[in-house]
């Protein structure tokens, strides 16, 4: 039971980071049906800028939390600028172009951002300064750190804030109008170009926060970190129903938990030596040996299978609405 609870805590924390990244994907998708494949790189830039700032400020003897906040405060505008330029130069000229064209520019932008980051922050695996002292609290046999609690809390706060922005402000109304029908929204006096640009900027700001969260939690950053994180978050967004804000959140958390449980339990479930029929006959099972068909190495396979199963039964994702779009 302790193990199970621990796995849930692990999964929820990892999932929270995915969720914040997924919010960035889903916002952009919601408004212009574009998968911004370069979003992972925005997260990377966020982590890197914060890395530099924290390294500059930490020796000055400021309180750790202040340093972290300043780091994040610097990462957010840089990422916003990256997000805006991306939209302005790589995506806006392609509105109305075939759907796959922006996908290729996204890949191009991704390559460019990665290698610019390489020039600035080197190829090395950077140890993200651990200025927040990690404290572990034990609940029975379940360990949870202060950083984990903070990450989960921040994640929910971000989602709540985003939901307020989208559903309770004039800007949010404009966003939703643009998402439903850009032409008509334009006729109603909404500057759709501006609304779309703002969406990218907000998404990039979320990406910056996600980058800092990732760096603080795992304590590592490298110029290639964006691709794998982006991929997971994209899966999370689709799982929850891409374009849907609570969906991205749900998808992220669920993906984190599925991964944790997958790594934690599939190995035992597929150990043939646990089953009477094989235990006697298999050579490998003697002397307490094992014959594991699929262990933690199939963690990602397991999460992709869950994703595929969900999509087969709910092709629009968990919370998504059915829309008639085309490839």
């Amino acid at each position: 039971m302790d193990t199970f609870l621990q796995q849930l805590v692990n999964g929820l924390t990892a999932g929270s980071v995915y969720a914040v990244v997924a919010l960035g994907y889903t916002m952009v998708y919601g408004i212009i049906q574009l998968i911004n494949f370069a979003h992972g790189e925005v997260v990377m830039i966020g982590a890197m800028v914060a890395f530099t700032m924290i390294n500059l400020l930490a020796p000055a003897g400021m309180p750790a939390l202040a340093v972290l906040l300043i780091g994040t405060g610097c990462a957010i505008p840089v990422c916003m600028l990256v997000g805006y330029s991306m939209e302005r130069f790589a995506y806006r000229p392609l509105r109305g172009a075939p759907r796959l064209a922006p996908l290729i520019t996204a890949i191009g932008i991704s390559i460019i951002l990665q290698h610019l980051a390489l020039l600035v922050w080197s190829r090395n695996v950077l140890a993200f300064p651990q200025i927040i002292e990690s404290r572990t609290y034990m609940f029975g046999g379940t360990a949870i750190t202060n950083v984990q609690v903070a990450i989960i809390a921040i994640c929910f706060a971000m989602m709540a804030g985003l939901a307020l922005l989208v559903y309770r402000t004039p800007l949010g109304t404009a966003m939703r109008a643009t998402a439903q029908n850009p032409q008509v929204a334009g006729l109603m006096g909404i500057d759709t170009n501006r609304v779309i640009a703002v969406t990218f900027i907000v998404g990039a700001a979320l990406g910056a926060v996600a980058g800092v969260l990732f760096g603080t939690y795992y304590g590592v950053a490298q110029y290639t970190m964006g691709s794998i994180l982006g991929l997971k978050a994209f899966s999370a967004a689709v799982l929850g129903g891409i374009g849907n804000i609570p969906g991205a959140m749900l998808g992220g958390l669920l993906l984190g938990v599925v991964e944790a449980l997958g790594a934690g339990y599939i190995g035992d479930i597929t150990d043939l030596c646990h089953y009477g029929v094989f235990a006697g006959t298999l050579e490998a099972c003697k002397d307490g040996g094992n014959f594991v068909l699929a262990g933690s190495n199939y963690q990602d396979v397991f999460s992709f299978l869950v994703l595929i199963l969900v999509l087969v039964f709910r092709p629009q994702g968990l919370l998504g609405e059915r829309v008639g779009d085309r490839a």
Partner: protein, 359 residues
């Protein structure tokens, strides 16, 4: 044959060029022959993916899985791994069939999915295949896991092996040059098949599905079968290319079949012009050669311009490559050589979009 003589001369000229190309390239360096061979493999892959993405309009981000299936089928049946050494003309069809089977396996559960949902499922499928290949070293060793399979047989007929250099007609013919001719022959066959497919009943059915699935079904097209056929056909080409890759490389490991490769092949298709066979060929050639040309020129160019190395050449190479992708798409959003249908579509786009959105 009613071709005007100018066309005939053109065909002859192209044929002669292609025939002497490897020897010309070998003068510059055998590396270029190898690069050309890999480029031809990428053209095969891109043409296969073009059936799925370009003809049938199904976004596939896991295409490299079929390449992997073909490559591993060949490697397992013609290497010391299981001590099997079957001749290539038996394995290649097996590889193609296995890949086609996997194409249907991927296609069947995803029939209902559209657009971006299909993209993520195919992406997941590609990763699943790679991870399984990477981990099938235990509990029973089948693929040798990340260590890869080595000592794979080259294409061989009796004593004649495509891998070893030998003297023919007074010319030194290296292994890569021999493979070039084989690849060229396969490529010509595949292009011919593709050209025929495009204008066949099946080709038109794919096009109908791409344009409007509901209308296609209403016109009596069995969309399920036709979609599965697209996946199977595309996968077959991937499988054949994979088998040849295995033989040429003589060593394969799962790291050759990563997601980035799928993305590259997709970029070739989109960049060249989805649905246009010659566009796809052009896209594959460009994306295969540009990084290599940059590899040879960035360093000397920098030395000539600035007299010293300002930025490491490999970083410039990647930056220029990324920039090229962005610029081509910005200036030719439908690809370098858009298909005729796409061109019509683009001009009529504005109206179509309004009605589509309002549904």
């Amino acid at each position: 044959m009613k071709h005007p003589w100018a066309v005939r001369i053109g065909v002859v000229l192209i044929a002669v060029t292609l025939a002497i190309l490897p020897f010309a390239l070998a003068q510059v360096g055998t590396a270029w022959v190898r690069i050309t061979n890999y480029a031809v493999l990428y053209i095969l892959l891109a043409l296969g993916l073009n059936i799925v993405v370009g003809f049938a309009g199904l976004l596939d981000l896991g295409y490299i899985a079929f390449y992997a299936v073909g490559a591993y089928t060949y490697a397992l049946l013609a290497s010391p791994q299981f001590g099997l050494h079957l001749p290539f003309w038996i394995i290649l069809p097996i590889g193609a069939a296995v890949a086609a089977f996997f194409g249907v396996v991927l296609g069947a559960p995803t029939l209902k999915l559209r657009g971006d949902y299909l993209a993520i499922v195919t992406l997941g499928f590609g990763e699943i295949i790679r991870i399984i290949l990477n981990n099938l070293s235990r509990p029973v060793n089948i693929t040798n896991g990340p260590q890869g399979i080595g000592g794979i047989d080259p294409f061989r007929v009796g004593e004649f092996s495509l891998a070893s250099p030998q003297e023919m007609f007074g010319l030194d013919v290296s292994g890569p040059i021999k493979y070039y001719y084989l690849l060229l022959a396969v490529l010509i066959a595949v292009i011919l098949v593709n050209l025929r497919l495009q204008n066949s009943r099946i080709g038109r059915a794919w096009e109908a599905i791409r344009e409007d699935e509901i209308a296609a079904r209403a016109s009596g097209i069995n969309t399920t079968n036709i979609k599965l056929l697209a996946f199977a056909m595309g996968a077959t080409f991937g499988g054949v290319a994979g088998g040849m890759f295995s033989a040429i490389q003589s060593f394969i490991s799962p790291e050759s079949f990563v997601l980035v490769e799928s993305v590259m092949v997709l970029s070739m298709v989109v960049l060249g012009g989805m649905g246009n066979i010659w566009g796809v060929v052009l896209g594959a050639l460009l994306l295969s050669f540009v990084p290599e040309i940059l590899r040879w020129t960035v360093e000397p160019a920098q030395m000539a311009l600035f007299g010293r190395m300002l930025i490491e050449p490999e970083v410039i190479r990647m930056l220029l490559f990324g920039l090229a992708l962005v610029l081509v798409m910005l200036f030719r959003p439908a690809g370098l050589l858009p298909s005729a249908v796409r061109q019509r579509e683009l001009t009529a786009r504005g109206q179509g979009e309004l009605t589509e959105r309002s549904t």
